[in-house]
């Protein structure tokens, strides 16, 4: 089990417990979604981030409402942490009219500007140029808000990655590029898609710092993020943080992931970010069994409510298949 370092950005016990709550909530939400897929309740488009939760919690925790995030298809938890309700997210995943897109697209292709959430397309890396534009708006306004943009190691091979990071470096924009390096682009392992070991090395070519960290250590992610946020807010430009992690499930819930060995999966499961953090918190006497049970019950109730709401919510009006294409 990897060691957890103390963070120089102080966190109170209450804050640590909030992070714990989010790790558990995000995991539970994805697990319940996965079960709904198996029950045939979700049409498609479920890409869980199970095993990668520390990245979302470590980067989103403590963000301002005005800080913009540009999450990936696996980052449903980022929507929750930024303030979208479980009900809305579940309705979105079940293609109901109460979802963010009125049932027009599943997954996370729909953002919430008032909460600072951008919804990307399925074109991986295509959120990065948009993140540059969002960050440019903050620079124009001379405000110290920051954009946090996520991408996979696979997307770091897409042209948009290069164009966006280069432009962000040239313009010295307040943007964090968070790499969720989960070792596989669908089925293609890292060594088949990159001739280097660390995506973080690519930052050097754009004139800013890149660091590779343990993405399963929520405090390590938090610490690196806070440092990068402080630099971005001070006008010192972008940072690339490569979070090494692993997705426990396949690319989507329909992918059995035969391209990986059981040993490899088991090894990474032993590095479960939640178990690691739980052990740390109980060792610090911050977390008790009683608290764990209380959190689990609270999360179950919230997600039960969200599923019941989404199941009961009406399907979209067929007329809406051709509306909302243009504003005027």
């Amino acid at each position: 089990m990897p060691p957890i370092k103390r963070t120089k950005f102080k966190l109170s016990p209450e804050q640590l417990l909030e992070m714990y709550y989010w790790l558990k909530h995000i995991r539970a939400f994805d697990e319940r979604l996965s079960a709904l897929v198996k029950q045939g309740r979700v049409r498609s488009g479920v890409y869980t981030g199970i095993g990668q939760e520390a990245i979302i919690v470590g980067t989103c925790y403590g963000l301002r409402r005005e800080d913009y995030i540009c999450p990936l298809h696996r980052d449903l938890g980022a929507f929750l942490m930024k303030g979208v309700s479980s009900r809305t997210m579940m309705a979105q995943m079940l293609a109901k009219s109460a979802g963010l897109s009125k049932g027009r697209d599943s997954a996370l292709h729909s953002g919430v500007p008032e909460l600072g959430i951008f919804g990307n397309t399925s074109m991986l890396g295509a959120n990065l140029p948009v993140a540059v534009g969002l960050a440019l708006s903050y620079k124009i306004e001379k405000v110290d808000h920051v954009v946090v943009a996520y991408f996979g190691e696979g997307a770091s091979n897409v042209g948009d990655f290069h164009e966006a990071l280069n432009m962000a470096g040239v313009m010295k924009l307040p943007v964090l590029f968070i790499c969720e390096n989960n070792q596989y682009a669908y089925s293609v392992p890292l060594e088949k898609s990159m001739a280097i070991d660390d995506v973080a090395d690519r930052a050097r070519g754009y004139g800013f710092d890149g660091v590779a960290i343990n993405g399963n250590d929520v405090l390590a992610v938090y610490q690196s993020t806070q440092g990068a946020l402080a630099r971005a807010r001070a006008g010192d430009g972008p940072t690339l943080i490569e979070c090494k992690t692993y997705r426990w499930h396949g690319h989507s819930e329909h992918d059995k992931a035969f391209y990986r060995t059981q040993e490899e999966v088991a090894m990474w499961r032993s590095r479960d970010p939640i178990t690691t953090f739980t052990t740390y918190l109980t060792g610090m006497n911050v977390l008790t069994d009683e608290h764990i049970q209380e959190v689990d019950a609270r999360i179950t109730a919230d997600i039960d409510d969200a599923i019941a709401f989404a199941m009961d919510a009406p399907d979209p009006d067929p007329a809406d298949a051709v509306t909302d294409l243009l504003a005027t």
Partner: protein, 327 residues
């Protein structure tokens, strides 16, 4: 009394006026800053507005469009310049998948008020990659508006309308017209409404539907036909999507004959769609098959001889109109 400007100056004046009026408008693209743009369209703008609002970018069409989209989500109205319309393919995904779908996939909650300026068209010796007319790609994609002015007046008025529009607008400015098309432009806040065609010449015997640099040869051809006793109505579409169905149908109902002229290639060019819609909805008004004069299904070659062999011109339009009138 409105002043006379070239088409190019009219485009610049639209941007300058909108940037003075609205601090949320800015320009970004390759060489648009102190250099003033490859064609000089943004000349002097960096001096007036500063390089923070007239932004030189790296050669990164996808990031230029994506950056415009991102800023637009925070209330800005960016004008993204593609140096040539030919290069718009490098920013294609951001336009067709990011901008065009944004409103739809957000349940109508989000708009993308960007303008992508695309200097298009041939007859300037540009060869394969500096002459293209890629408007049909964007007409085909729901969620976008596409305009293509033919006069200085419309160049200004349509660009102002595009900047103020809440939807993504692809603005095709024809390079052949930059300094050749000169005329009065609207003063101040007057705009040319998106979605409205203009009747450039009235006639009763046949209708020409056209746009961009093809309007002038169509008018030449109409004058020639007039000498032969055939009065041709020339409709300048101005907006290609949403095209002005009412104006098109009204003219067809009047003339019962239709020729479509565009510089874009024939197969699945806008003419194919217009032809289909007219046949679907106004078949009983037609006295002759719809005809098209377009670029052949080929690339734009460098040699003057080869390019001239491809470009629609007044002679070809005249001949097509004669056949149409005689049918």
């Amino acid at each position: 009394m409105a002043k006379e400007l070239t088409y190019l100056e009219a485009i610049r004046e639209a941007m300058v006026e909108e940037m003075r009026r609205d601090p949320k408008v800015f320009v970004l693209g390759e060489d648009v800053g102190p250099y003033g743009g490859a064609f000089g369209v943004t000349a002097g703008m960096a001096e007036e507005f500063g390089e923070a609002r007239v932004i030189d970018t790296p050669i990164s069409e996808s990031a230029i469009v994506g950056t415009a989209i991102g800023a637009s989500l925070r209330g800005y109205r960016p004008i993204a310049e593609m140096q040539f319309a030919d290069f718009i393919s490098c920013g294609f995904d951001q336009i067709v998948n990011q901008a065009a779908t944004m409103r739809y996939r957000h349940g109508g909650r989000v708009s993308v008020p960007i303008v992508v300026r695309a200097p298009s068209g041939g007859n300037v010796g540009g060869g394969l990659y500096h002459s293209q007319n890629p408007e049909a790609w964007f007409i085909h994609r729901p969620g976008l508006k596409v305009v293509a002015p033919s006069t200085a007046w419309d160049a200004k008025g349509l660009l102002k309308a595009a900047i103020r529009d809440d939807d993504p607008v692809i603005y095709f400015e024809h390079k052949y017209l930059y300094r050749r098309a000169k005329g009065p432009v609207p003063d101040g806040d007057e705009i040319v409404e998106i979605g409205k065609a203009a009747t450039r010449r009235e006639g009763t015997d046949a209708t020409v539907l056209t746009y961009g640099a093809m309007v002038l040869p169509a008018l030449d051809a109409a004058e020639r036909l007039s000498a032969e006793g055939v009065e041709v109505e020339v409709i300048d579409l101005r907006t290609l999507m949403p095209y002005d169905k009412a104006a098109i149908f009204a003219s067809i109902e009047k003339t019962s004959r239709c020729l479509i002229v565009h510089e874009d290639v024939k197969t699945l060019g806008l003419g194919a769609e217009l032809s289909a819609v007219i046949v679907e909805e106004r078949f009983e008004h037609l006295d002759a098959p719809i005809r098209r004069v377009t670029y052949p299904d080929t690339h734009c070659p460098f040699s003057h001889v080869l390019e001239a062999a491809n470009l629609p011109n007044a002679d070809r339009i005249t001949e097509a109109l004669r056949q149409l009138a005689a049918y």
